[in-house]
């Protein structure tokens, strides 16, 4: 494993070290077909649109946004579980999007995913031991049954579970325990990168806290890099080093975590932060909310220019007719406009919200 110290948790974005994973101009469209016999293609869901980011070593990048904004699709395209429409995902000098399933195989070990409920897709007749052993067997690393069993026990211990329970079935475990089993399975091949897709969203908070602590410990011990997908900004603030905020398929702002909360510059990020209720009555009473009007537009037919303009309070209340033209006609680039981090709003302006 690499030197654990200096690389630790880089605050500024400008780290010289090579990123583990580089995503460039990633696009994913899903065809929309007409009903009936012929099922002609009548349009595209623009699920992921020109997404670029780097994931650094031992870093947690939080990917946050509301339902349907393309978080899961980004995670899946990234791991080549779903074919990209265009764009690049560079890992160890190779572009994953161009690789066939068999070429991907050796790389699968390094790149793993944990789902919201890992058991939704698993055989209920398998014991926990078998579930965790499966990736080892597939990749020919199980070895003798003694060695294999030892590895499985060790993995269960690593995720804080009692190895004595390995002969039980998934349904005998609670949500938090299942999530730990999903993590054990993802760790089996000693990956470098984990995509965590809403790993704690289904859990009660008192249980969620233990799983979050576990993920933090594993990162420190095993030197993992996380792409942590969540719709919950509180969890993201707690666990992430950097954050990328998505809206309708695009990244609208990205910043080191503290900077994002101190100086959110995109009107959507601002609305998102201000909408989250704080478990603190005094702060809640004095807080100013930015209320958005309207609903998220259809990703089949996203607005021209800035995709947020149909709900943007700045567009509606502050801009002149002339200024609005720019929002309607030009896609705002994701660049630093003087706030110290990148945001995709023509009129970005840092604001402190909490």
């Amino acid at each position: 494993m690499t030197a654990p110290t200096s690389l630790g948790k880089p605050e500024p974005e400008a780290t010289k070290a090579e990123p583990v994973l580089s995503v460039r101009n990633l696009v994913k469209h899903f065809p929309v077909r007409s009903r009936g016999l012929v099922r002609r293609k009548i349009g595209d869901v623009h699920a992921v649109c020109d997404v670029s980011f780097d994931l650094n070593e031992r870093e947690t990048l939080g990917l946050v946004g509301e339902s349907g904004c393309g978080k899961t699709t980004t995670g899946r395209v990234l791991l080549n579980l779903v074919k990209a429409t265009s764009g690049q995902v560079m890992y160890q000098g190779k572009d994953l999007t161009k690789m066939s399933a068999s070429d991907m195989r050796p790389l699968r070990r390094d790149l793993q995913i944990v789902f919201q409920d890992p058991f939704a897709s698993l055989d209920p007749r398998m014991t926990i031991n078998e579930i965790v052993a499966e990736p080892l067997r597939i990749h020919g690393q199980y070895g003798s049954s003694e060695k294999g069993r030892g590895q499985v026990r060790e993995l269960l211990r690593t995720v804080g579970l009692n190895p004595e329970h390995g002969n039980r079935y998934a349904h005998e475990f609670s949500g938090g325990q299942r999530q730990r089993i999903g993590i054990a399975r993802a760790l089996a091949l000693r990956p470098k990168v984990l995509v965590l897709d809403e790993p704690v969203s289904a859990l009660d908070v008192s249980i969620q806290a233990g799983v979050i602590n576990l993920l933090e410990d594993l990162q420190a011990e095993l030197g993992l890099s996380y792409l942590f997908i969540s719709h919950d900004l509180s969890v993201i603030r707690h666990i992430a080093d950097r954050v990328a905020v998505m809206y309708l398929g695009r990244i609208v702002e990205t910043a080191p975590v503290e900077q994002l909360f101190r100086t959110a510059a995109h009107p959507y990020t601002q609305a998102l932060i201000s909408a989250i209720p704080l478990p603190d009555p005094q702060k809640e009473r004095t807080r100013k909310r930015i209320l958005l009007t309207g609903d998220v537009p259809s990703p089949v037919n996203p607005p021209s220019g800035c995709r947020f303009r149909s709900r943007c309070p700045k567009f509606a209340n502050e801009l002149s007719e002339g200024e609005r033209q720019k929002c309607v006609n030009e896609v705002p680039a994701l660049v630093d406009r003087g706030e110290g981090h990148r945001s995709a709003c023509h009129y970005a302006e840092a604001m402190k919200l909490i």
């Binding site: 804080g160 325990q177 233990g210 602590n213 478990p279 702060k283 609903d295």
Partner: protein
């Protein structure tokens, strides 16, 4: 068409305390099953004052929904309900379903997590709001429709004159929930019961719906019971809070008392498990070890005992009542509530990462609170 005019309101003089609109007293609910009785609600009491908002929080399965369904008279026939529920002084438990149905949607309104359970897919939303009005008021159809448009405006639906003719499926989830709120408002209810009204929604939409709920309360002056597992929602929208655990209220008080001065270890633990949007720094979270008990054959004693870092022998034997703390309105069900004065969750709970559900507090070394061993 039934006529029930506002005269009923004047009878509130008959209520014991004119200020109290809803009084729940020692409510218990059991569900008989093959394995024995599920004790879903075990002696819940609370009073809701006119215009007040009471939040109910608790873990999944703690009995929040069953308590409210019992108040609304909506439990399945198999449920065994005991205790008393008084609305404006009038006893509801044991009321024939026909009379209950008349109260619901009139004095007693409800909002559930899924708006589609409350809306009929084959009628426009305007028709459904108007129906709710016409069911209890003798007004013209035109007047009912105008009122429907007004109500849609109050709950923040843009272009209400057009939206009034939409079917539910033509609206987003957040808009549908606002229609349900409009229907709930239609007859100036005294009490609105909202069970996880925003849980299925995105946060920016949740903010819109909560705003609509506030508007509804302002306009009708209704008192509200707001059930949610989100402590943030309670902090912003309730005056008082009840914390539920294993079918019981374990702490009750003003939101400031319970959030800033919790006196029941479970409430303290819940607050300490929350990742905070408003705090930088990476303080470790403190989960609560163990999981809630089964509501079948509950052992005697405090139901939080196996998870509680303060537990002593007495906790296993005697179930604590709701003891008054500093403020008599602030009560907590813990034998050792006095020891929690000035204690923070990180003093009491550990930042562990192992599978907490397989542990009990006894598996960890006892905590060392000041003034005790």
């Amino acid at each position: 068409m039934t006529e029930s005019t506002d005269i009923t309101l004047d009878r509130s003089g008959a209520a014991p305390k004119s200020d109290v609109v809803l009084e729940v007293d020692n409510l218990t609910v059991e569900f008989p099953t093959d394995d024995g009785a599920v004790q879903a609600v075990r002696g819940v009491s609370y009073q809701l004052r006119r215009g007040d908002a009471l939040g109910i929080v608790g873990e999944s399965g703690s009995g929040k929904s069953v308590t409210s369904l019992a108040v609304l008279g909506l439990l399945p026939k198999t449920a065994r309900v005991k205790g008393s529920v008084k609305l404006l002084g009038e006893e509801l438990i044991g009321k024939p379903e026909k009379e209950y149905a008349k109260l619901r949607g009139n004095k007693l309104a409800m909002i559930f997590q899924d708006p589609l359970t409350s809306l009929n897919p084959v009628y426009t939303v305007g028709y459904q709001i108007a129906e709710a009005i016409l069911a209890h008021h003798d007004v013209s159809k035109k007047a009912a429709r105008d009122r429907a448009i007004d109500l849609l405006k109050t709950v923040g639906i843009p272009f209400p004159e057009q939206r009034v003719d939409n079917y539910p499926h033509e609206m987003s989830g957040g808009m549908r929930q606002r229609v349900v709120i409009a229907i709930a408002m239609a007859n100036d209810p005294d009490v609105i019961i909202a069970d996880e009204p925003t849980t299925a929604l995105d946060v920016t939409v949740q903010a819109q719906v909560l705003e609509a709920l506030e508007a509804a309360r302002n306009e009708t002056g209704a008192a509200m019971v707001l059930i949610t597992h989100d402590l943030g929602v309670i902090a912003g929208h309730a005056d008082r809070i009840c914390v539920m655990y294993a079918g019981k209220l374990v702490e009750k008080g003003s939101i400031d008392d319970v959030f800033y001065r919790p006196r029941m270890p479970y409430s303290l633990g819940l607050l300490g498990s929350l990742p905070r949007l408003d705090e930088s720094g990476k303080d470790r979270l403190t989960p609560i070890v163990g999981s809630p008990p089964s509501l079948l054959n509950l052992p005697p004693g405090c139901p939080f005992t196996p998870r509680c870092p303060l537990a002593q022998d007495v906790c296993e034997q005697e179930e604590p009542g709701l003891y008054p703390t500093g403020d008599p309105e602030h009560v907590a069900a813990c034998h050792f509530h006095e020891r929690l004065v000035g204690v923070s969750s990180s003093d009491l709970f550990r930042p562990i990462s192992v599978d907490t559900e397989d542990l009990t507090a006894a598996d960890l070394a006892p905590v060392d609170l000041e003034g005790q061993k």
